[in-house]
């Protein structure tokens, strides 16, 4: 009886004091934050991550150390981040698809989607299927017609998913493309420009060439028209019910304290949304622009992405 009272008093005191501190001061990182980047140094995502770090440091005084853990389409970073303590001092920026399609398609990636706390999306790709303007094709329909007329069409893809997408597009339209895997965001672009490939996926680097009129976006792989080629048709016009764009976002290891999660995701969303921030300006130029999705919305977004990936994998099989 007496012992029980002491216990409950202690619990009450502990509760009260923890609530008091929460009310007085928000969660603050207890040391430098490691920001793991799932891409090679120097690329668009890497630049975005470093700008995010710069802005967070400027606004909150947090010390943030960016570190590139590139490889295997984001799986290398995810496997490394999973094992970090969930104290808010280790976060990672990645293509969200690596935690949806990537987990489902890999044989044994070494992590599951439940190993992470999803903080916020930042921006998205502007994926389109491109060709040289000099080929005379205006949209994907022209390419399909050329393939039906007996022309061999080689197509570049920078991920397994986009390769599967080519297969699916071909299947839905009664043609077959020769798929060639290319390296990174620029691989397909270089292949098309050098006439090594007829068409290729490109997730943003084509902007310059399209504006100059050398390249054309044949179709948008996103759920909406592309910013630079609003006239390019969507994939559903070619009997394909899936889209193949992805978002880039920030995650932390699973089990992150909700208070820390809130502080971190709010800080990220603030930077993404501020038109004055370098990050906002960069993603407006290089990607689809600011697309913050945080907290439960982000969880729901990821659940939906995984569900679509499952359907997609079934369709490809």
């Amino acid at each position: 009886m007496k012992l029980g009272r002491i216990k409950s008093t202690l619990v009450a005191v502990a509760l009260a004091s923890s609530m008091a501190t929460a009310a007085v001061a928000e969660w603050q990182p207890s040391g430098p934050i490691k920001l793991m980047i799932a891409f090679r140094a120097g690329g668009g995502v890497d630049t975005s991550a470093r700008l995010l770090a710069e802005e967070l440091t400027a606004r909150h005084g947090w010390e943030i150390i960016p570190e590139n853990v590139a490889g295997r389409g984001g799986a290398a970073m995810a496997a490394a981040l999973k094992d970090e303590p969930a104290d808010g001092l280790a976060i990672g920026m990645t293509a969200m698809d690596s935690l949806a399609y990537g987990v489902l398609a890999a044989k044994n990636p070494g992590f599951t989607p439940e190993d992470f706390t999803y903080l916020s999306a930042i921006t998205g790709t502007q994926t389109g299927l491109i060709a040289k303007s000099s080929r005379g094709w205006k949209n994907l329909g022209d390419v399909i017609a050329a393939a039906k007329a007996g022309e061999e069409i080689s197509a570049g893809a920078m991920s397994a998913k986009l390769a599967d997408a080519l297969y699916l597009i071909g299947q839905a339209n009664g043609v077959e493309f020769t798929t060639v895997m290319v390296q990174g965001g620029k691989g397909g672009l270089n292949g098309v420009v050098a006439d090594d490939l007829d068409i290729a996926w490109a997730a943003g680097p084509q902007t310059q060439g399209v504006k100059a009129g050398d390249l054309v976006n044949l179709v948008s792989a996103e759920s909406a028209p592309l910013n630079i080629s609003p006239d390019a048709p969507l994939l559903n016009e070619y009997n394909v019910e899936f889209t193949f764009g992805t978002k880039f976002g920030v995650v932390a290891p699973a089990g992150l304290d909700p208070e820390a999660r809130k502080v971190l995701q709010d800080a990220i969303v603030e930077v993404v949304n501020d038109p004055e921030s370098k990050l906002n300006q960069f993603i407006t130029r290089a990607f689809s622009g600011p697309e913050p999705i945080a907290g439960e919305d982000f969880d729901a977004f990821m659940a939906a992405a995984r569900e679509e990936s499952e359907r997609f994998l079934k369709a490809v099989e």
Partner: protein, 531 residues
């Protein structure tokens, strides 16, 4: 933007780039400062036996990247510094070769043949002036060739080479390096395959780590810069530790020879040297432009060609300025032309170019390859501006070389007096620090020491290092090109033999190995490309 606007933008990127500081309101560009710093440091290091340009590049690259960061703004200062070191070390390498018969860099080995006899005759000053004049001429010539041909060649090469031809060309490059560097082409080939094998760990297209033996340790592959520093620099350090331990009783002081002969180099004498310099510069430039062959071979060939041309009273090898000029013009004209395959294909031919590629790969924003030379008119192609900026830094280094280089190099003869037992531990610690600064993990230090051990063993069994390093760097490109060629051929097993050009490349790569396997003299001094 037209061609000249691109050139101008490149020049401005160097001169009007980010400022280091301002004098009387005029900003001094950080890039220019880095080029000058690299150049003079290169001369000093080149003149130090036991050290060389690669060492400075290796140690400073990780440090510079952590200072300047990963933005495209970092490219020109860092690459400018590397260019400066490359040029400075080439000039500086001849100093100890001429004064003390110890080549500061392997390229300067042939310089000892005539340079040191000239010193013995009391003409050290003349030999140094000859070396500098020939080196600066050869270097400038080769740079001019680079500026005029690289853009056109890159576009041409890209137009004619498909995936299969690219794969075959990389194979040809690798077999060239394997066959040409070192005493035995077979050992070279083993080194090249070893490089490919180690580069395969943890890479590839699959979503799971390849060849990692289930460990997290290898899951992300072998860190590129760390591995290259390990075999190139640490291996050399370990070898010199052993050498010092062996030599500890025979500590012979290098004696300076009093100089009394004719030490000036008149305009007429310079003009008489011009045919030798001209021929050697062409030899060096041609060799440099071939992917995969380095400056040591250029020096040897330049010297041999000069020897055939020579009809003077003093024979080659007995201390004639023509011998020094022929060697120095040849080995100095490699570095510029070497950037032709680097910029048009991403294939390096010598250690200096290896570090330029490493810099570009680590920083990003500049992918050596045909896309660099796309003269887009409506939008600016930033990579092309960087390329012309790089050319500008080379020209600036040449100007430094012509104006201050000669005087500076005559001062650094003193570097040879630095004892190796003091030098090597410093190199050892500096290299570890440099790697740790970039990777900030003890794991990379273990990798470094492991690869150092590998480099040491390779040196012990006289296996050349360069084929290993170059194949390690090109492995990813080779695999990609092969996979793409295979895919685009619709899984044709003979995909590499379907185009005449790729068959020619493949045939050449076999012929090269056979040719160099026959009657190759095993000269132990030639086995190491790096010092």
């Amino acid at each position: 933007m037209g061609v000249f606007e691109y050139v101008w933008a490149g020049v401005m990127a160097v001169f009007a780039g980010p400022e280091a500081f301002a004098i009387f309101g005029v900003g001094i560009s950080i890039t220019l400062l880095m080029v000058a710093f690299g150049f003079f440091l290169g001369i000093v290091i080149g003149a130090t036996p036991g050290l060389g340009g690669p060492f400075v590049m290796a140690v400073s690259l990780p440090v510079l990247i952590s200072i300047f960061g990963f933005t495209p703004d970092a490219l020109l200062p860092i690459m400018g510094f590397l260019v400066g070191v490359m040029k400075g070390a080439t000039v500086g390498g001849s100093v100890p070769a001429i004064l003390f018969n110890t080549p500061g860099t392997p390229d300067a080995l042939m310089t000892t043949l005539d340079g040191y006899p000239m010193t013995k005759k009391g003409q050290a000053g003349k030999a140094l002036r000859t070396a500098h004049f020939a080196s600066a001429s050869g270097d400038t010539f080769s740079d001019l060739v680079l500026f005029t041909t690289a853009p056109f060649l890159a576009i041409l090469v890209e137009g004619y080479l498909g995936f299969a031809e690219k794969a075959a060309l990389i194979i040809l490059s690798l077999s060239f390096v394997a066959a040409v560097v070192g005493a035995s082409p077979m050992k070279g080939l083993i080194a090249a395959f070893l490089g490919l094998l180690i580069a395969s760990v943890g890479t590839g297209e699959d979503l799971y780590p390849r060849m990692s033996m289930g460990t997290d340790f290898l899951a992300n592959g072998v860190p590129l810069i760390t591995a290259v520093l390990g075999v190139l620099i640490m291996g050399e350090v370990f070898s010199s530790f052993e050498q010092m331990w062996r030599d500890r009783r025979t500590e012979a002081a290098t004696a300076e020879i009093p100089q009394s002969g004719d030490n000036s180099l008149s305009f007429r004498e310079r003009r008489k040297l011009m045919p030798f310099i001209g021929v050697s510069a062409v030899v060096g430039t041609v060799i440099g432009a071939l992917p995969g062959i380095g400056s040591t071979l250029a020096a040897t060939l330049g010297y041999a060609t000069g020897q055939k041309m020579h009809k003077g009273p003093v024979n080659f090898g007995e201390g004639t300025p023509e011998g020094v000029a022929a060697t120095e013009a040849a080995n100095s004209s490699v570095s510029g032309a070497n950037l032709i395959p680097v910029l048009s294909l991403g294939i390096p031919g010598n250690v200096g170019a290896v570090f330029l590629i490493l810099a570009a790969e680590s920083i990003g924003g500049f992918n050596p390859g045909p896309s660099v030379f796309r003269f887009t008119t409506t939008e600016v192609n930033p990579e092309l501006v960087i390329a012309f900026g790089l050319f500008t830094t080379m020209m600036f280094a040449n100007i430094l070389n012509w104006t201050f280089g000669g005087q500076f190099m005559r001062w650094v003869g003193i570097m040879v007096k630095i004892p190796k037992p003091a030098l090597m531990p410093i190199v050892f610690l500096l290299t570890i620090t440099a790697v740790y600064v970039q990777e900030t993990s003890m794991l990379s230090v273990y990798f470094l020491l492991g690869f150092g051990l590998l480099g040491y063993v390779m040196r012990k069994i006289r296996m050349p290092i360069l084929p290993f390093v170059i194949s390690f760097i090109l492995a990813g490109n080779l695999e990609t090109a092969l996979r793409q060629a295979f895919a685009v051929s619709k899984a044709d097993p003979l995909f590499l033999f379907r185009s005449p050009l790729s068959v020619v490349f493949l045939a050449l790569s076999i012929i090269v190995v056979i040719f160099f396997s026959r009657g190759k003299k095993s000269d132990p001094k030639m086995t190491s490309e790096v010092s």
